[in-house]
């Protein structure tokens, strides 16, 4: 068992496959998703537990019978685990349309791995009355599909789910504030475990875990070293070791623009005259992901995060072959350079990162900043 305040989260994240099987054996019905644009509150309100599919397979072999080697390692690994039976406990997959690859993956999963429910939710990009009305129809269509699979949706349950997830996100927001103020005594890897545990733990159990964590934190300035404060930007990071290497090489992760991070939690809630409207409002106000926004919008957000966190540099950590992130990178890199914010880009492959090379590059990068 891991020790320290993040211990329970590390144990959960570490034993996630076992936890899923345990949940299923206890009678819970699980719906998997790849991307945080999936309406987890609605899935929960239909009586299912939404769980994010992770791709932490050690070796990828079988997946190549279904996907090419030029899709991101996360997808390859997720398919590997799917084919190995890890996700047999899922009732199905629901996915908000974000990147092309995860969209295709829903189809591939349905054809080859199986389940009862497969739903791809088309999300509007624009925020206008007709877009909200379109999303409302899409969400209600999803409710009907989940009901057909034995779901038991009600507006009251959705209201409760929205409250619960909003409480979780608000608490995470508080942890982020502590992090910005250097009062969070967790390494970047430990913090990632806190986030990851939330992807597979039923929210009614996860919320008390977060309350316990908050209680255990001293609340004063932590002594996590004097590394260069950095913001990490990218999509999914599955292995906390990747983030720990940044901190061991002379950096200190104080902020992130990750979908295994802040992008999952901002904003905590939405407003609306009924629960569906509230869910729509949050979806339309999400922290921008590159699949759904331009690099210009993202640069503004990154600069804002830099300001509030005191980050001095940006480390882009990309899944190799990730089109939305790679396509935004030249503009972001140039924009940051113009504002004298140093940045570096590291790509993660199937075997994770090339540790030695990453350490050398990062050490050089931080030395350069220190002058």
């Amino acid at each position: 068992m891991a020790s320290g305040p993040a211990g329970p989260f590390e144990d959960t994240a570490e034993g996630r496959d076992e936890k899923l099987r345990e949940l299923a054996s206890q009678g819970s019905r699980l719906i998997g998703y790849f991307c945080t644009y999936t309406p987890v509150e609605l899935i929960h309100a239909s009586g299912f537990i939404p769980v994010r599919i992770m791709g932490d397979a050690d070796v990828v072999e079988k997946a190549y019978t279904l996907v090419p080697d030029f899709v991101c390692p996360y997808v390859r690994k997720a398919v590997e685990k799917g084919l190995s039976g890890t996700y047999e406990c899922l009732t199905g997959i629901v996915q908000g349309y974000t990147c092309d690859v995860t969209c295709g993956l829903v189809n591939i999963w349905e054809e080859n791995i199986g389940g009862e429910v497969f739903h791809l939710l088309s999300l509007p990009y624009l925020d206008q009355p007709s877009s909200r009305s379109f999303l409302r129809s899409g969400l209600l269509e999803l409710v009907r599909e989940l009901d057909r699979a034995g779901g038991s949706f009600s507006m009251k349950r959705l209201e409760e789910a929205l409250d619960l997830y909003a409480s979780i996100r608000s608490l995470m927001g508080e942890l982020y504030t502590l992090r910005y103020n250097r009062c969070l005594p967790l390494s970047a890897g430990e913090f990632l475990s806190v986030v990851q545990a939330g992807f597979i733990t039923p929210p009614e159990r996860y919320y008390p875990m977060l309350l316990e964590l908050k209680k255990a934190l001293p609340g004063n300035r932590s002594s996590r070293g004097d590394g260069i404060p950095v913001l990490v930007s990218g999509s999914l990071i599955e292995d906390g070791k990747t983030l720990d290497i940044i901190e061991q090489s002379g950096g200190l992760v104080v902020a992130d623009d990750l979908c295994t991070g802040l992008r999952s939690f901002e904003p905590a809630d939405g407003k609306g005259s009924d629960p569906i409207d509230r869910l729509i409002d949050r979806t339309m106000s999400r922290f921008p992901c590159p699949t759904r926004s331009s690099a210009e919008e993202r640069l503004d957000r990154i600069m804002h995060l830099k300001e509030i966190s005191g980050a001095q540099a940006v480390v882009f950590l990309f899944q190799k072959f990730c089109t939305p992130h790679l396509a935004d990178h030249p503009f972001l890199n140039e924009g940051l350079r113009r504002m004298n914010v140093p940045s570096i880009m590291v790509e993660m492959e199937e075997a994770g990162i090339n540790e030695g090379q990453m350490r050398t590059r990062l050490e050089g990068f931080f030395e350069m900043i220190r002058g």
């Binding site: 090419p68 295709g104 072959f321 089109t323």
Partner: protein, 415 residues
């Protein structure tokens, strides 16, 4: 065979194509010089009919990439975009067009005069991620262009519901309002109806042309796929209808006369995924052993019909349907299409181009392969890239293609 080889065109009408292409680009430049608004837009979209109905000039930056490939300009464009930091792992269309607009565009000696600068820009919110990112980058390059950002629901064809159509129609109405405001021109609904009738007639002719692939020997092959140019750039015009009518008539004559594209057709092949635009000669490679590339996936994007009684909904539906027809939004639908084509065209073997530049079309190919094999159609995977010849090995292709052809010939007792 060289890395960049042109295909052999046997149809007289296919030989007319260079002129049709030149005339289109000449029209684009004339429009610019006469002050007719020029708008850049993605292909496979109902905006083309609106443009022609409003006498605006549509330009398709995505289509410019195959032109660059045919003229051997991609390497130069890639150097520019890669120098700007665009990764080689990104789609070749994206790297080519970004390199072009930041590089040789506007310089002397551009083939066909190059692309005219846009007055209008239609960046899509929908379709594939590279296309969205292309237009975001183009907006940066041409900040003076008036831009309309419109949503396109991303939904599998078999799952399209009324609410998807309604939203697509409402976005079309917004686009019309934008175009009227930006150009000072009014859309005449009767003109739109005429345009949609022409567009639908082109689709009908397209299906008639595709149907000639059933003939043995086939009077048309993938080498003639360039005729698709009029579907990309001229849909909704009499030019497309007239040209496709001539193609159809020529094919009818050849089919009835038993004239195939090669003399001794032995093996009928299918190509899945986008062609190698820099090496269209690849389609002819199999011919030395009696193999004909009878059909390919990409042409399916225009196998649809438009409801001429409701022009606005018709172009909204076209926008909804075209991209999913050739992507991974519904792998089941795409698999059905490939299998149907293989059945109807009596295909002996399929070449699956595993295309590093296009993940949406490549995803699901393994499912297609398995299903083809279950139905007795052997297939061969070729690793390549529709734009970047650095990701294609001719020698490896030839070795594998020869072995595949030998196997197919042996299966038919022809070896």
């Amino acid at each position: 065979m060289e890395k960049s080889a042109k295909s052999k065109k046997r149809l007289q009408t296919a030989k007319e194509l260079p002129l049709i292409i030149a005339e289109y680009y000449q029209e684009c430049h004339e429009a610019k010089s006469k002050g007719k608004p020029v708008g850049w837009m993605p292909p496979m979209n109902g905006a083309i009919e609106l443009f022609y109905a409003m006498d605006l000039q549509p330009v398709f930056p995505e289509n410019w990439s195959p032109v660059c490939a045919a003229f051997g300009l991609t390497r130069q464009n890639f150097e520019v975009s890669e120098g700007m930091g665009y990764s080689r792992d990104l789609c070749g269309y994206l790297r080519n067009i970004i390199g072009y607009v930041h590089g040789m565009m506007g310089e002397e000696g551009n083939p066909l005069g190059g692309l005219p600068e846009p007055d209008l820009m239609l960046p899509p919110n929908g379709g594939c991620a590279p296309v969205m990112k292309i237009f975001q980058a183009l907006l940066r390059r041409f900040p003076a262009a008036k831009a309309f950002k419109g949503d396109i629901p991303q939904v599998a064809i078999e799952n399209i519901s009324r609410y998807h159509v309604d939203y697509a129609v409402s976005e079309m109405k917004r686009l019309i309002a934008f175009l009227e405001e930006a150009t000072g021109r009014r859309l005449d609904m009767d003109r739109l109806r005429e345009t949609v009738i022409l567009s639908d007639r082109a689709c009908e002719l397209w299906d008639e042309i595709m149907a000639f692939r059933r003939y043995i020997p086939t009077p048309i092959s993938a080498s003639e796929i360039g005729i698709m140019f009029v579907m990309v750039t001229r849909q909704g015009t009499q030019i497309a209808v007239d040209y496709l009518t001539r193609v159809r008539d020529e094919l009818k004559e050849r089919a009835e006369g038993g004239t195939g594209v090669i003399e001794n057709e032995k093996v009928r092949l299918f190509w899945d995924n986008i062609p190698l635009w820099y090496n269209m000669g690849l389609f002819n490679y199999f011919e030395k052993m009696g193999g004909v590339m009878v059909a390919e996936t990409y042409s399916a994007a225009w196998s649809l019909r438009l409801d001429v009684s409701n022009p606005l909904e018709a172009i909204a539906m076209k926008t909804l349907i075209s991209y999913p027809l050739v992507s991974c939004v519904s792998i089941r639908k795409r698999k059905e299409m490939v299998l149907k084509a293989c059945r109807e065209y009596s295909i002996d073997g399929a070449i699956l181009h595993r295309n590093k530049s296009c993940v949406p079309i490549t995803l699901g190919q393994m499912d297609i392969k398995r299903e083809l094999e279950a139905q007795g159609v052997p297939s061969l995977i070729i690793d390549a890239d529709h734009m970047d010849e650095r990701n294609f090995s001719v020698a490896q292709f030839q070795t594998r293609a020869d072995a595949f052809m030998e196997m197919l010939l042996a299966r038919k007792g022809l070896l």
